[in-house]
Amino acid sequence: METAAVNPISAGDTAWVLASSALVMLMTPGLAFFYGGMVRRKNVLGVLMQCMGTLALVSVLWVVYVYSLAFGKGSPFMGGLDWAMLNGVGQDAYADYSATIPHLAFMIFQAMFAIITPALIIGAFAERMKFSAFLVFTVLWLTFVYAPICHMVWAVGGWVRGMGALDFAGGTVVHINAGVAGLVTALFIGKRIGIDKPSLHNVPFVVLGGALLWFGWFGFNAGSALAANGLAASAFVVTNTAAAMAALTWAALEWIFSGKPTMFGTITGAVAGLVAITPASGFVDVTGALWIGILVSVFCYFAVSVIKPKLGYDDSLDAFGVHGIGGFWGAIATGIFASKAVNPAGADGLLAGNAAQVGIQFLAAGITVVYCALATWIICFIVDKTIGLRVKQEEEVMGLDLTQHHERAYTIIE
């Protein structure tokens, strides 16, 4: 029997986690088109460049030192630098995180999450941040917000993980975190010039990007089982169900309140559903998924069409309205609908008789909100005082494509 213990790597699990990593990687280009379609034509390359720039930048930082800060041994709040340059992170399994897959597979799967999280924030400050400031902001945010929150929630010995909060695939670490950072950056940087409403230039891009997100999300959620097993299949099914239900609900809300269902609204609903099911995907059944999908569209629709105009902040592409609100609802919903019948390693929620789980979920989400808001504000302040966050007025008017990158996306005369 000793030979089996020497090599616990499962071919099936490894194949699924590597494939899932590739699926999650595709979400960031998907997000680029989802966001890119929502901005004015003069800024589409600016948004694509920020998303693809994040993909490249975070990929490098992650292997150099951020993976170690996020998952390495350290305090309950932050890992150390033992695993810098992936020192000791090898082809063998690592029991704490990846008992049946190579440690490297777990590391690269997590890299994709660390990439898409700062990319999500781009939606909040789109069309007005300097590219240089964006790069500095992303490095600081990844290091001082993402790494500690990831460590607290997911790492063995992490502060929030120890409380028993349930977050299957990153509702707190990814979506609440990015959503709150989005709200803070939108408030800090101020409104765009000459715009007070959505100004989509290419709805088909939004749909293409949204569809790629939906596709990639199977890796995000079902891949978070870190195994090719029944739980992965369950997460896959509830992910698809919640996305579909939320898309239908958003379309229905538009039909009721503004006369016609729109493509933009429907794909927004789908993404909101994906956000909300993320923390719950390993703990709920399809009944839970349907309710999560219905209610996330109700909450997010209300947030972006009623509350945002009243409060008057300019979260350009609703990073907070969809990811912040949807992520928060997902965290709470996990505490309501979770069941040990789905995942014996999880916990029962409110409907299974464990009301305390809702309180734990609130606490974990609250800690993330407070830490992320404070730290993000400080980072914005530092970047603004040193190199300046925002482009000059005339640059903003001409567009980020021409002023930040010296190129343009479209011609009207050949």
Partner: protein, 113 residues
């Protein structure tokens, strides 16, 4: 009858429309054009190759009005489009000898409004 042609910054279009509606000028045609005046265009780079003097995106408004609406129209365009910076654009006013409404065959001042 006059034809007022205005070249403005794209992002000022909403403000110009608001000012025109406020002046009771409700009929406009808008097109997207490329061009430059004293801004002298913009440089672009494609894989390191520089292209200079590329044209900037502008909005062209065409507004056909009766004579008593010429000044209000011009004032409204200025109100909406002026930022005081180079690139705000220009207004051209030209005589309009004839105007026909296709639906009814009406001509002249009647057809214009």
């Amino acid at each position: 009858m006059k034809l007022v042609i205005a070249i403005i910054q794209p992002y000022r279009l909403e403000e110009v429309k608001k000012a025109l509606y406020a002046a009771d000028v409700n009929l406009i045609t808008v097109s997207e054009v490329l061009g430059h005046g004293r801004q002298v265009g913009v440089d672009e780079f494609y894989r390191g190759v520089k292209e200079t003097g590329n044209l900037l995106r502008k909005i062209r408004l065409e507004i056909a009005v009766n004579d008593n609406f010429v000044e209000p129209t011009i004032n409204a365009v200025i109100k909406g489009a002026r930022t005081g910076k180079i690139g705000d654009g220009k207004i051209f006013v030209v005589d309009l000898p004839r105007c026909v409404r296709i639906r009814t065959g009406e001509e002249g001042s009647k057809a214009i409004g």
